[in-house]
C-alpha cells in the first residue's frame, strides 16, 4: 500500500498527500488538524470536540444542512473525529464528486460562522452525547483509570470534556480556538481513490492556496513518566458484571518499542486491527490471556491494546469477570502471564504468527478506500506515512529478545493503574 504517494506542500504551509487507487469509482478526502484534547487547558475540557461539531453548523457559502444534503445526493458519506492528538474530517464520495469535498473543506477551514444559537443547541447535543457515554460501565472505568494514570498530562482527560466545562464554554471561546488552530499551516489534506493525482493537486491549489497560512501549532505537552507506584481504584455503578482494567504506560507511536509492544500485545491479548474502516479484526481465542483467563474460567472475555499516540499513552487490558470470581485472583493470573513474557523469550514461531496476522489484516483493510485514505493522514499525526508503509517490515524485525525487553520495560507491576468496576446490583463486590 506504500507505493506512489504524491506529496506536496503549498506555499501557505498546507501539506498534501495523494494516493491513486483505481479499484473502485470512489474517493476519500480527509483534512487533519493538529489539535485535540492534548491542546486543551483547564476549564476548557471538551472544546476541541465542540469545535468539531460546530464545523457542521454552517458558513456563509454553505449554511447548516446544505453540505449534508449535497453529500447525501451523491450517495457519499462524511463525518469527523476528535482525538487526543488530532481532529479530522472526511468525505467518501463517488469519484466524480471530489470537487464537492474540496469546496466544503476549504471553505470551513476558515469561514465557519459559530452562530450563537447553533452554539447553544450544540451544547445540549454534546451533553446528550456525554450522557450516553456515562451510561456505559466501561466508559466510567476507563475514565477513572485514565485520570489515575496521569498527574498532569492532558491524556488524563476524556476528549468529550467534563459536564462543568461543557456548561461554561462560551461561543467566543470556541471561535477563538477555531481561529487559532484551523489554518493551512496546521493542517494536512490526504486523498485516496480513483483520480489523477496531478490534476487533483491543481484543484487543491485552487481551493486551498489562497487561504492565509497561520502558524503551526506548538507541541503543548511533554511526555509524562509512568505512575511512581502501583495505584488501585474502584468505580461502582449499575449492572451485574465486574470489569477489571489494568493500564500501563505505552510507548509513543514513534518509539521503536511500539513495534515490539505490538507483537507482545498480539501474543498476550490477541492482535489489534489497524483498520478503522472496514476489514475487521480476528479473534483472540488462542492468545495467552484468553487461554489463562477464559479457558480456565476466571473471565468471560478479555481484550487489550494500545493506540498510536504522539506522547506515551496507555497499554490496557480489560477483563470481563465471571460472576463467581474475585478481581484480585484474576489479577494474579494476569501477573503470571506477564511474568512469563518478562522471564523468558517467546518463540520465533509466535512472532511469525503475529506478523502473518498483521499481514492478513492489512490485506482486509486495503479493500476499503476510506481506510486507506485515513492512514495516509493519520500516520502523519504522530510520525509520517513511512511509519504505516513500513509497518509490516518493522514488525518482521522484532526479535524474541525485543519482546522480552519490552515486557520488562513497559509492563512493570509497580508502574500501573488497576481499576475495578463493581456493580451495585450484584457480583462479588456488591
Amino acid at each position: 500500500m506504500a507505493d506512489d504517494i504524491l506529496r506536496a506542500q503549498l506555499p501557505n504551509g498546507l501539506t498534501v498527500q495523494l494516493k491513486e487507487i483505481h479499484t473502485a469509482p470512489l474517493i476519500s478526502h480527509w483534512v487533519w488538524y493538529r489539535v485535540g484534547s492534548r491542546y486543551e487547558q483547564n476549564g476548557k475540557r471538551g472544546i476541541s470536540h465542540w469545535v468539531e461539531h460546530m464545523q457542521f453548523k454552517g458558513t456563509p457559502r454553505f449554511p447548516a444542512g446544505v453540505p449534508d444534503k449535497a453529500i447525501a445526493r451523491t450517495g457519499g458519506t462524511w463525518n469527523a473525529f476528535t482525538h487526543m492528538d488530532w481532529t479530522t474530517y472526511f468525505e467518501t464520495l463517488p469519484a466524480d464528486h471530489l470537487s464537492l469535498a474540496l469546496e466544503i473543506e476549504s471553505d470551513r477551514m476558515v469561514n465557519s460562522l459559530f452562530d450563537p444559537k447553533e452554539v447553544e443547541a450544540e451544547r445540549t447535543v454534546i451533553l446528550s452525547e456525554l450522557a450516553g457515554n456515562l451510561n456505559e460501565p466501561l466508559f466510567l472505568l476507563s475514565d477513572a483509570v485514565q485520570k489515575a494514570s496521569f498527574e498532569q498530562h492532558p491524556y488524563r482527560n476524556e476528549v468529550i470534556g467534563t459536564p462543568e466545562d461543557l456548561q461554561n464554554i462560551r461561543r467566543d471561546d470556541l471561535f477563538e480556538y477555531y481561529r487559532h488552530y484551523y489554518h493551512p499551516a496546521n493542517a494536512l489534506v490526504a486523498i485516496a481513490g480513483d483520480f489523477d493525482a496531478g490534476q487533483i493537486l491543481r484543484q487543491i491549489e485552487d481551493r486551498y492556496g489562497a487561504i492565509p497560512p497561520g502558524k503551526p501549532a506548538q507541541n503543548p505537552t511533554t511526555p509524562e513518566p509512568p505512575v511512581a507506584e502501583e495505584r488501585h481504584l474502584a468505580v461502582s455503578g449499575p449492572g451485574e458484571t465486574v470489569y477489571l482494567q489494568i493500564a500501563y504506560r505505552s510507548p509513543a507511536a514513534a518509539d521503536p518499542d511500539f513495534f515490539s509492544m505490538t507483537v507482545l500485545d498480539s501474543l498476550l491479548a490477541g492482535p489489534t486491527s489497524l483498520n478503522m474502516f472496514g476489514g475487521g479484526g480476528i479473534s483472540n481465542k488462542t492468545s495467552r490471556l484468553y487461554r489463562a483467563l477464559v479457558e480456565n474460567e476466571w473471565a468471560v472475555g478479555i481484550s487489550g491494546g494500545m493506540q498510536a499516540t504522539f506522547d506515551p499513552f496507555l497499554y490496557d487490558l480489560t477483563i470481563t469477570l465471571r460472576p463467581d470470581r474475585n478481581p484480585d485472583e484474576v489479577l494474579a493470573v494476569v501477573d503470571d502471564e506477564i511474568k512469563r513474557l518478562q522471564d523468558a523469550p517467546v518463540s520465533e514461531q509466535e512472532i511469525q504468527r503475529a506478523i502473518k496476522q498483521a499481514r492478513a489484516m492489512f490485506a482486509y483493510g486495503s479493500e476499503n478506500i476510506t481506510n486507506q485514505a485515513f492512514w495516509l493522514g493519520f500516520a502523519e499525526m504522530f510520525a509520517d506515512y513511512g511509519w504505516f508503509s513500513g509497518y509490516l517490515t518493522r514488525l518482521a524485525e522484532v526479535t524474541p529478545a525485543d519482546v522480552q525487553r519490552a515486557a520488562q520495560r513497559w509492563l512493570p507491576s509497580n508502574q500501573r493503574v488497576v481499576g475495578v468496576y463493581y456493580p451495585l446490583n450484584g457480583g462479588p463486590g456488591a
Binding site: H22, G65, R73, G75, G76, S128, E129, N135, G239, G301
Partner: protein, 433 residues
C-alpha cells in the same frame, strides 16, 4: 501511476459476473471474483434459526450456532482457533429468527483451510460439555450486560410488544431463565434436526476464480448429506395496535434514556418496500438523520442521535424512530416525533426531497459494494429474497420509478390510523409508565 477505467472494471454485480451454482446436496453457491483483492470473504446462512426454539428454551438455536466452533470430531476448541488465528483468518456464527448465519475471511492462499473448517464445524460439531458450560456462562454475562443497556432493552421490549406471540417478538439470544433450561443434549438434538445442506446458501467473494472456488466447495462441502428437512413454520397473524401502547423499562443509575417509537412496516418482498425506503430516508436518514434529526437534534438540540429505521424481514417488518435523550426531555421528544410522523402521513414529500432521497439511495451503491464483504452481503440479499442476479443493475430504475404519491400512500398505510408502540428505557426521571 497508470490510470484504469475503473467504471467498467468495477461495475455493479450482475448476471454476467455473479456465478450461481446449486450443488447436488442442496447448497446454493454464489461467487464473484474481485481481481484486486488478496483476500476472500465467505458468508452464508442455513435455515436453522430461533423460530424452531421451544418457548422454554428460547436461545437454543443461538447457543447451537455459537457452539459449533467449540469442538468437532477432529479438533478441539483451541485447535480450531489455532488454525484460524495462525492464518490471520476469522470464522463466526450468529443466530437470527429464520437462519443461522456465518461469516469468515482469509488471505486467498488460506481459502481451502477456511472451507474445510466451515465444513467440519457445520457437519461434525461435538458440543463438548465443558465448552457448553463455558459458553452458557459467557452468554449469561452477555445477557446481564444487555439488561443494563438502555438502547438494547428499549428495542427488545418494543419488539416484544409489537410482535406479541410472534417469533419476531422473542429475542433470538433468549432470556437468562430460558438459557438455564438448555442442556448439551438439546444442542446436539437441534443440530441433528435442523442443520442440513438443503437450504444452505454460501457466498464467496474475493481474489480468486469462481472455478477454483467451486472445486474447493465441492470437495469440502459437496459430500455433506443429511436426511434433515427443516419443517415450514406458520406464523401467527399480526394486528397493528388499536391504540398507543406506552412502556418504560426502568434501569436505575443511568444518565440517559433510549426511546423507540413505531409500528409495523412492509416486508422485504412487499411491493411497497421501495416507496417505504425512500420515505424512511426522508423521514429519518438523509443527511443528518432526515426530518427527525433536523427537528430533534439540529433545531432543538435534544438528542445526539434521533433517526428512523425500517426493519423489513421475511414474515413482517417494523418502522421505527429511535433516539437517545435526557430523561427530562423524553415526553417532549415523543411529541416532536409524533408531530413529524403526522406531517409525514398528511402531506406528500417535496419534489426536492424525493429527488434527494432517490439520488442518495442510488449513489450509495458503489460505496456499499466496494469491499468483498459488501458484495457478499449483496449476493446473500439477492438469494434470500429472490431478487434476481441483475437486481443491483435494475435497482436505479426501480428507485427512479417511485412517485411522491406512492411514498405518501405507503406512509399512510403503515404509520397512520392505528396506535404506536412507544418504549423508553433508562432512569425513571419524568417518564410516565
Amino acid at each position: 501511476m497508470k490510470r484504469r477505467n475503473s467504471q467498467s472494471l468495477h461495475a455493479l454485480p450482475g448476471a454476467d459476473d455473479i456465478q450461481r451454482v446449486e450443488l447436488e446436496n442442496g447448497i446454493t453457491l454464489l461467487m464473484r471474483c474481485n481481481p484486486f483483492s488478496p483476500s476472500v470473504v465467505i458468508s452464508g446462512y442455513l435455515p436453522a434459526g430461533s423460530q424452531y426454539d421451544p418457548p422454554e428454551k428460547l436461545g437454543l438455536a443461538y447457543l447451537t450456532a455459537l457452539g459449533l466452533t467449540r469442538g468437532t470430531q477432529r479438533r478441539n476448541f483451541q485447535q480450531i482457533f489455532d488454525t484460524l488465528e495462525t492464518a490471520g483468518a476469522s470464522l463466526g456464527f450468529a443466530g437470527s429468527v429464520h437462519t443461522v448465519s456465518f461469516g469468515g475471511r482469509c488471505l486467498v492462499e488460506d481459502l481451502p483451510m477456511l472451507l474445510e473448517l466451515l465444513s467440519e464445524v457445520l457437519s461434525q460439531p461435538t458440543f463438548p460439555p465443558d465448552q457448553v458450560e463455558r459458553l452458557r456462562v459467557q452468554h449469561l454475562t452477555g445477557l446481564a450486560i444487555r439488561a443494563q443497556d438502555t438502547a438494547e432493552m428499549a428495542s427488545l421490549v418494543f419488539d416484544e410488544i409489537l410482535f406479541n406471540n410472534h417469533p419476531y417478538g422473542k429475542p433470538e439470544d433468549g432470556y437468562p431463565e430460558s438459557i438455564q433450561n438448555i442442556r448439551r443434549e438439546d444442542l446436539l438434538d437441534f443440530h441433528q434436526r435442523y442443520y442440513s445442506p438443503a437450504g444452505m446458501v454460501l457466498a464467496v467473494v474475493g481474489g480468486i476464480e469462481p472455478a477454483k472456488v467451486l472445486d474447493w466447495v465441492n470437495h469440502h462441502l459437496g459430500w455433506w448429506q443429511t436426511p434433515t428437512v427443516p419443517p415450514a413454520v406458520v406464523y401467527p397473524p399480526l394486528k397493528p395496535p388499536a391504540q398507543d401502547i406506552r412502556r418504560h423499562v426502568s434501569i436505575d443509575g443511568k444518565s440517559q434514556c433510549d426511546l423507540v417509537v413505531g409500528t409495523f412496516g412492509p416486508r422485504r418482498t412487499d411491493p411497497d418496500f421501495f416507496p417505504a425506503i425512500i420515505g424512511n430516508n426522508i423521514l429519518g436518514q438523509l443527511g443528518m438523520m432526515g426530518r427527525i434529526g433536523e427537528i430533534i437534534r439540529e433545531q432543538y438540540g435534544l438528542a445526539y442521535y434521533a433517526a428512523a429505521n425500517l426493519v423489513a424481514s421475511t414474515a413482517a417488518g417494523s418502522w421505527e424512530v429511535s433516539a437517545g435523550v435526557d430523561p427530562q426531555n423524553l415526553q417532549r421528544v415523543i411529541d416532536l416525533i409524533r408531530d413529524e410522523i403526522v406531517c409525514f402521513t398528511h402531506q406528500p414529500v417535496s419534489e426536492e426531497e424525493l429527488a434527494d432521497s432517490k439520488a442518495n439511495l442510488i449513489g450509495r451503491l458503489p460505496l456499499a459494494l466496494e469491499s468483498n464483504s459488501g458484495v457478499a452481503g449483496a449476493l446473500l440479499n439477492i438469494e434470500r429474497y429472490g431478487l434476481g442476479l441483475d437486481y443491483y443493475r435494475r435497482y436505479p430504475s426501480i428507485i427512479e420509478n417511485v412517485s411522491r404519491d406512492e411514498v405518501l400512500e405507503t406512509a399512510r398505510r403503515y404509520l397512520n390510523g392505528s396506535g404506536m408502540v412507544i418504549v423508553s428505557a433508562g432512569p425513571d426521571g419524568s417518564a410516565e409508565t
